[in-house]
Symmetry: C2
Subunit: 292 residues, 2 copies
């Protein structure tokens, strides 16, 4: 870890930019290179101080990389991680920030070139925002936030230690679980809430919005997120998200039945169960202070 | 309006307490009397400056009332409004802050004693919080917020003018519509978001909460609201809430179908429609700065 000098961040948006800001704030000796496809966005990230240097040339970016962090949309993470492992020096640690893990890890471990699975440790720092781009990046986005690492039997123990050290150095609180276990959990804690927020936003007619207030505002906030990004996340975690929807329907149908039956006791009981579950969440905990 | 000197607030919780604070801050000549059943809560409201004087005796409270504002749960509003009309001087304006209107207005207008329907103007200031009690009251809770008045052909024009003046004096932006129209709108803008928040809160297992973040936090916030209060609101607006649930299901089923069909374009289109609808809401507008 002490010999790590150069981090390459592939994809310098909200997450990649925040990682850059956090590395530069917390690890002054490190050099941060941003790799992307859009020159204007890369230059903005340099101006914002999220990265030291920018390039659109992957070979140039990875030439001296000790750590590569892939922060592209989940549909591109596996491909970009394999590229990093192929182009970087053999000792490179490749990690990512994707919101789903099983499909990404499986694709990387299936690579005929064994350097990918040797270099890679899947990660998901659970932080974000409905806002896009490095302009919304923050150096404390990961402070006290959970980061899930998803090692497998193929994971190199040395890389796992380096991944732990890297994500901890950004302020994350680490958890480790299998990729599929991560995806099942996040389907409920993040993907379902996003789908529900969008369905709610789509249901309230525009002409009634002047009569909407806090419940609508908070319940639909994350529907402001990027469509392509979320289509990719939902599809990458399709079966778990479908299961989460079924569980959600069961709960909403209990409400509907109690309402149809005109049953105040059943309604109050259903509500009270939800209320007491919600009370176990610690929204003022630094670990849950930001989105999503 | 200028001759109004005494306001009685029946039910000094978050809403009643905020009305008291706002009246005292904005109309220094007025005396605010709090009427309630729980002496400790009434005394707290006096200490917090939400009311000048407290009583548990309705006849005593209403003896000199120029305005009565009923801020009790929707299941009790009609009864309490009729009591106010019966006990107060004949010129009294009776108004309320109930989250539903049709059942309340119908019950008051059906009163054999015509003083109720002559005195009453239904109102719903669209502001609140998942928190309970005068301790969470704020004098700016209604500042710039929509308040719906629901006059009917029975409404006395003079009382309607006085109700407009009263709610405007608290900082509300007035809208007027029929009681049923209000209930249909609020089923979508407020009651549905509350039901969805509770269903979401009930769906995420407690052991996964450390992996929940902003989407869960905001999407379930209002599930922290009071169970009895919300059971009453849902039942008082039963058919419109059931209709709103059906509309929500249609949207969520479009998502489910696109996901089952593995169709990224359909998912992105569905999301984009939700995102653009949400973008028309102005969350930073003072009119929408607070809950619910």
């Amino acid at each position: 870890v002490d010999r790590e000098r150069t981090v390459v961040i592939a994809g310098v948006g909200l997450i990649g930019g925040s990682i850059g800001l956090a590395v530069r704030a917390r690890r002054p000796g490190m050099r941060v290179i941003g790799l992307g496809r859009d020159r204007a966005r890369l230059e903005q990230a340099v101006r914002l101080g999220a990265i030291d240097r920018a390039t659109t040339d992957a070979a140039e970016a990875y030439a001296g990389a000790d750590v590569a962090v892939v922060c592209t949309p989940v549909t591109r993470v596996a491909r970009d991680a394999r590229e990093a492992a192929r182009l970087a020096p053999p000792h490179v640690l490749v990690t990512d920030a994707g919101s789903t893990k099983a499909a990404i890890v499986a694709e990387i471990e299936a690579d005929v070139d064994p350097s990918s699975r040797r270099a890679f440790v899947g990660a998901h720092p659970i932080a974000g925002s409905e806002k896009k781009g490095a302009a919304h990046a923050r150096d404390d986005l990961f402070e006290g936030r959970a980061c899930v690492l998803t090692p497998t039997p193929f994971t190199d123990p040395d890389r796992l230690d380096r991944a732990r050290a890297f994500w901890s150095s950004l302020g994350c609180v680490l958890t480790e679980m299998a990729p599929a276990e991560h995806d099942r959990a996040l389907a409920l804690t993040s993907h379902l809430p996003h789908a529900v927020a969008a369905a709610l936003a789509a249901t309230v007619p525009a002409d009634l919005l002047p009569l909407a207030a806090g419940a609508y505002r908070d319940g639909t906030r994350v529907a402001g997120s990027d469509a392509e990004l979320w289509a990719g996340i939902f599809l990458a975690n399709r079966s778990h998200v479908l299961d989460a929807l079924t569980a959600f329907d069961l709960s909403l149908n209990r409400f509907r039945d109690a309402l149809r039956d005109d049953d105040p006791a059943a309604l109050a009981l259903w509500w009270e169960e939800a209320r007491s579950r919600r009370a176990r969440f610690q929204p003022d905990d630094p670990a849950t202070a930001h989105a999503p």
